[in-house]
């Protein structure tokens, strides 16, 4: 019966993640526009964008890039399925990093200097947030005694009570992962980006559509990990998780609209400071309590 349930979760993820991703991103764009005193695009604009990209021809700079972008989508979906099937959260993070590396390789394979610079910055961003993702996995292990998502959602009280520092650290790196300012160093959906389109510079037409689809799957996965901080064996905590995730998402949009860009050195410093300041001290306290 349990296996059957996880199968349903995988199918739901495959089918609903793009829908949820599009709705979230549409909400983001409308709210952003309202914050700036504009009317903003239609709510379904991200859907129109992706459908348009799939109708356009792709200018392929080399076949390797296309292959890498397709693999990025595949690995992201694989990672998401692993997570929503209740798999090992360490493995989820590793597979996710691999997907990210494929994207960097795709950008590196092109000759455009913007693309290469975007790839370098994406690499630096990864170095900045990877320690936090590892710490999140370790934090869940300390609280639940297991790396399995299936076990983590069976705990007695929400993990955030014991892991507030980890939660703050994870929210911080979400700003990087969602490509929001001030940390939109490698690429961004906004026109204010300093490197034109950075990472996605040489990815065009339907190949860009594949990449955008991958990012939708990725965003849903990241929000899913955020929800883990709230979910317990009580069914009502799923509702709590949904509410809290929406609040965090709104705060990220707010931050995006308040702060200008930073330089990568500053990002690096702050991310590690937050990681080791909040998650690190939280970790030490947990370790002492375990004694």
């Amino acid at each position: 019966m349990r296996d059957f349930l996880w199968l349903i979760m995988i199918i739901l993820y495959l089918g609903l993640a793009p829908v949820l991703g599009v709705l979230a991103s549409g909400y983001d764009r409308v709210v952003t526009a309202r914050m700036q005193g504009r009317q903003g695009p239609p709510f379904l604009q991200p859907y129109y964008d992706i459908m348009k990209l799939f109708q356009k021809e792709a200018i392929v700079v080399n076949w390797l890039q296309t292959a890498m972008v397709v693999s990025f989508l595949m690995f992201t979906i694989f990672t998401g399925c692993l997570f929503f099937a209740g798999g090992d959260i360490l493995l989820v993070f590793f597979a996710h990093s691999l997907a990210e590396v494929l994207l960097i390789l795709a950008a590196c394979s092109a000759n455009s200097p913007y693309s290469n610079l975007g790839a370098q910055r994406e690499y630096i961003q990864m170095m900045a947030y990877e320690p936090m993702t590892l710490l999140v996995a370790i934090g869940f292990y300390l609280v639940c005694g297991s790396f399995n998502v299936a076990d983590i959602i069976q705990i007695n009280m929400p993990a955030i009570i014991k892991l507030p520092g980890f939660f703050i650290g994870y929210c911080f790196i979400l700003i990087i992962k969602f490509r929001k300012s001030p940390f939109d160093l490698s690429t961004s959906h906004h026109a204010h980006q300093e490197m034109v389109k950075g990472l996605t510079q040489d990815i065009s037409g339907n190949v860009l559509g594949i990449m955008e689809l991958g990012e939708l799957y990725e965003n849903v996965l990241l929000v899913g990990i955020l929800a883990l901080f709230f979910i317990t064996r009580e069914p009502w905590t799923w509702l709590l998780a949904a509410v809290c995730c929406s609040v965090v998402y709104f705060l990220i949009i707010l931050i995006d609209n308040i702060f200008p860009r930073v330089k990568w050195e500053v990002m690096f410093k702050y991310t590690w400071l937050v990681t080791f300041g909040f998650a690190g001290s939280n970790f030490l306290i947990l370790m002492m309590l375990r004694r």
Binding site: R29, A33, Q36, G37, R38, Q39, G40, P41, P42, Q45, Y48, D49, M51, K52, Q55, K56, E57, A58, I59, H189, A191, Q193, V196, K197, T200, Q201, D202, I203, S204, G205, L208
Partner: protein, 161 residues
Amino acid sequence: MKLSKSPWLLHYDASSCNGCDIEVLAATTPRFDVERFGIINTGNPKHADILVITGGVNNQAKSVVKQIYSQMPEPKVVVAAGICACDGGIFKDCYNIMGGVDKVIPVDVYVPGCAVRPEALIDGVVKALAILDQKRDAMKSHAACEINYDKNSDTKEKNQA
């Protein structure tokens, strides 16, 4: 789904006096909120559907204009903004001016004005969207849109010679 619901725009200054460029930038500011139509101002030709181009194109800009045009994936439309971009304007008889964007690449919509008004420009872009959809339908029905870059550009040189 129609392509025109999500037009991404690229702006290039092909040797204009900057008057039109300021108007183009004004039209993409939050005041006019072109994102209402799903329009995004992108700096990347490979992501763009609409090329808004200003100025009468001088000799140096000619190759750049051609390259930008060729880097945009099909289907795509070109909007010539300002009278200089339409036919050379007051610079028409300069020794180094091609005399309009359509001497170099095919133009779909001409928006006159010196400088072009933001309202007129937005109107022109919205007109271009209808053409974008037509081109997409043409692509679907395998009627290949053959583009002959040099067909027009040589005439001016010949005339000058």
